[in-house]
Each structure stands twice: as structure tokens, then as C-alpha cells.
């Protein structure tokens, strides 16, 4: 009974807390320009919020929200964004990862184009790091069998 009671407290607190952790993670990614932070730190915070969900509920509950197929897609998606931005700069005539070339397609002068390129990079890295943290946690915690609970 007591175990069940504790679950309720933890689950309700987590249900309230997790969205705010995720918003804070997004803030860390987006605000990497002005304050310490960036793609990696924000991505880890987002991954940690998902892991908190796995710990509070059980893995199947968490996997209903993000199953591992979609998670692998997110891993690749983040990196495709990153190398895609670099490739666009290559296509626009600059060297690889030269964001000032983005100024040709974005209505911005080359210096701010670099700043926007950096923001795009941070978003790509954030998505990949979040997905990787979740994927590694799911594999290590359930030892590959992905049944419910954290045995």
C-alpha cells in the first residue's frame, strides 16, 4: 500500500514538473547566444525530462509517448539539420559551414546570417543529443528487452 501511495505522489509531481523542465531545456537551447548554454546542455535537459518520465512511470508509459523507432529518426534528423545547413552554405558558393552565405537566401546581412546559422546548428545539436540520451537510456535500462518497469 505504501509503495502504491508513494507512486501517486511521485507521479503527480512529475506530471506537473516535466513540462516546465522541457520549457527550460528549450530556453537553454534558444538562449545559447546570450547566456551560458547551447545545443548540448539544452538537449541533455530535454533528455533528462524524458528519463524522469521513465523513472516516475514505467518504460512502456514513456515509450507510448516516444517509441524507439521515432527516437532513432530524431537522432538522424538533428544531424541532417546540422549537415544540411552546412550543405546549403556549400551550395550557395561558400566553403562548408560558412553561414555568411545564408545571407543570400535569408533577408539578413552576412553577420546576422552567421548568428542565425549558429542558432540553426544549436537546434540540430539539441534534437540529436536529446534523442541520443533517450535512446541510450532506453537500451541500458531495459537491457534491450524493452519490457515494462525498470528491471
Amino acid at each position: 500500500m505504501i509503495a502504491h501511495l508513494e507512486d501517486i505522489i511521485i507521479q503527480t509531481v512529475c506530471r506537473i514538473l516535466i513540462p516546465f523542465i522541457q520549457v527550460y531545456g528549450l530556453y537553454v537551447i534558444a538562449h545559447g547566444h546570450h547566456s551560458p548554454g547551447g545545443g548540448f546542455q539544452g538537449g541533455v535537459i530535454l533528455g533528462a525530462s524524458f528519463i524522469l518520465l521513465c523513472v516516475a512511470y514505467d518504460i512502456n508509459e514513456a515509450k507510448r509517448r516516444l517509441n524507439e523507432k521515432l527516437d532513432t529518426m530524431f537522432c538522424s534528423l538533428g544531424l541532417i539539420i546540422y549537415s544540411g545547413i552546412g550543405f546549403v552554405c556549400l551550395v550557395l558558393g561558400g566553403n562548408y559551414l560558412n553561414y555568411s552565405r545564408l545571407g543570400h537566401i535569408l533577408p539578413v546581412d552576412p553577420v546576422n546570417a552567421r548568428s542565425l546559422g549558429i542558432l540553426g546548428i544549436e537546434i540540430g545539436v539539441g534534437i540529436t543529443v536529446m534523442a541520443v540520451m533517450i535512446s541510450i537510456f532506453l537500451d541500458l535500462a531495459s537491457r534491450g528487452k524493452h519490457e515494462e518497469g525498470l528491471e
Binding site: 545545443g39 524507439e68 532513432t72 544531424l79 553577420v111 544549436e122 540540430g124 540529436t128 543529443v129 534491450g144
Partner: protein, 90 residues
């Protein structure tokens, strides 16, 4: 075996310590590391990338390719974990 490991460790430690004798002192603003390359990052960041956080601008723009390599490293770790542990559902 443990003694051999201890000797190897002490020898490496002694070599490393011998190497630190000529190093600049801790926190010395005129050490070669803070004179040769990094002043340009600090002074030119606002003009070139309009990003006040110098670490982010060096991370994603001046040495952006390192960060791409880094993200590929963590992607490799994820693929390795999937390859090694995940068992197909029967």
C-alpha cells in the same frame, strides 16, 4: 601484476610532472595560450557573428566542424548501443 601497474603509473606521473616545470603559472594573463589565438575570438566575435557568448560563437562558427564531429561521436554511441544491446522482439 598490480605492482607492474603501480610502477607504470608512477613513471607516467613523474614524466608528466617533469613536463609541467616550463609551463606558465596558473591564471597568468600573458601565457602563450591567451595571447596567440584566443584574443581575436574575444575581440572580433561581436563584429563577425553578432553573438555575445564567445564560447557559443567559437563552438558553432569558428570551430563549427569540431562540433559536427562531436555530434557524430554521440550519434555513433547511440547506434553502437542499439547494435550491441537491443534484442529483436520475438
Amino acid at each position: 601484476m598490480k605492482l607492474l601497474a603501480l610502477i607504470a603509473v608512477l613513471m607516467t606521473g613523474a614524466l608528466l610532472l617533469y613536463g609541467t616545470i616550463d609551463m606558465p603559472d596558473w591564471g597568468d594573463p600573458h601565457s602563450p595560450a591567451s595571447i596567440h589565438v584566443s584574443p581575436r575570438y574575444i575581440e572580433k566575435t561581436m563584429e563577425e557573428t553578432a553573438v555575445p557568448n564567445v564560447v557559443t560563437s567559437v563552438l558553432a562558427d569558428y570551430r563549427g566542424y569540431d562540433t559536427l564531429g562531436e555530434t557524430v561521436v554521440i550519434f555513433t554511441a547511440a547506434m553502437a548501443c542499439i547494435l550491441l544491446i537491443r534484442r529483436p522482439r520475438k
